[in-house]
Symmetry: C2
Subunit: 136 residues, 2 copies
């Protein structure tokens, strides 16, 4: 047996670095979605500068591990935010960007069923709702 700290998923262990802590802390503080570039900028302003490439790599890793939630905006930019955890979707205001987190058991099941009916396995889905919120 070994003494190494390897995740059960076989991925290499992630090391705790100033940069990762800074990114995680920032994401915890803020509410909405942020792009890698925005985070990079906000970190710089906060005097806790992190290389842009590192921000990208970290965000990717965090998204893969499920620690953050990444979606792609209309103009093709990836934006992330810390997810409360668990699987959920968003209702986003087209105007002001306000987002409401929604759970959707109904739709989850529907997605599974549809996929299975068509012979697809290992089904996943992407669902985002848009609209104009009451303030806009």
């Amino acid at each position: 047996m070994s003494t190494e700290t390897t995740s059960s998923k076989g991925r290499p262990a992630q090391r705790v670095t100033r940069q990762r802590l800074a990114i995680r802390a920032l994401l915890t503080d803020i509410d909405g979605f942020r792009s890698a570039q925005q985070l990079h900028e906000e970190l710089r302003e906060a005097g806790d500068s992190v290389g842009l490439a590192t921000v990208y790599r970290t965000l990717q890793a965090m998204a893969e591990s499920g620690e953050v939630d990444g979606i792609r905006t209309d103009d093709g930019e990836m934006v992330y935010r810390q997810c409360s955890q668990g699987h959920h979707h968003h209702l986003v205001c087209r105007e002001c960007g306000r987002t409401v987190e929604i759970s959707a058991k109904l739709v989850e099941q529907w997605a599974q069923t549809v996929a299975t009916e068509h012979g697809f396995r290992d089904a996943g889905h992407e669902i985002e709702l848009f609209g104009l919120c009451s303030d806009c």
Copy 2:
């Protein structure tokens, strides 16, 4: 009164060119979604070459006028297809890209309801299902 051919929407009239006809014809022939780059390549192979920039510009115009349907893939690329019309969603194989068109009255309603419940109006949504198809 004037004799000009201006659309009722006030946009400048679109001229009929070989390039536009070629793109439209190609989109009519094929089934799935294609990126601007793919179309550009397929046109070139068919000996009906069209400049890449023109493909981009044309697809944009067609999408705006509602003649084609454009969605953004997971990796941020825009893909288009002639829309059969009507609203629908897709079940896409993660491996081979095979797509099945699905209708989803259930989910449509759900989306409306959820949006309304949260005070959002003018609701729309984006729903894509993924999985591994039976061949993969």
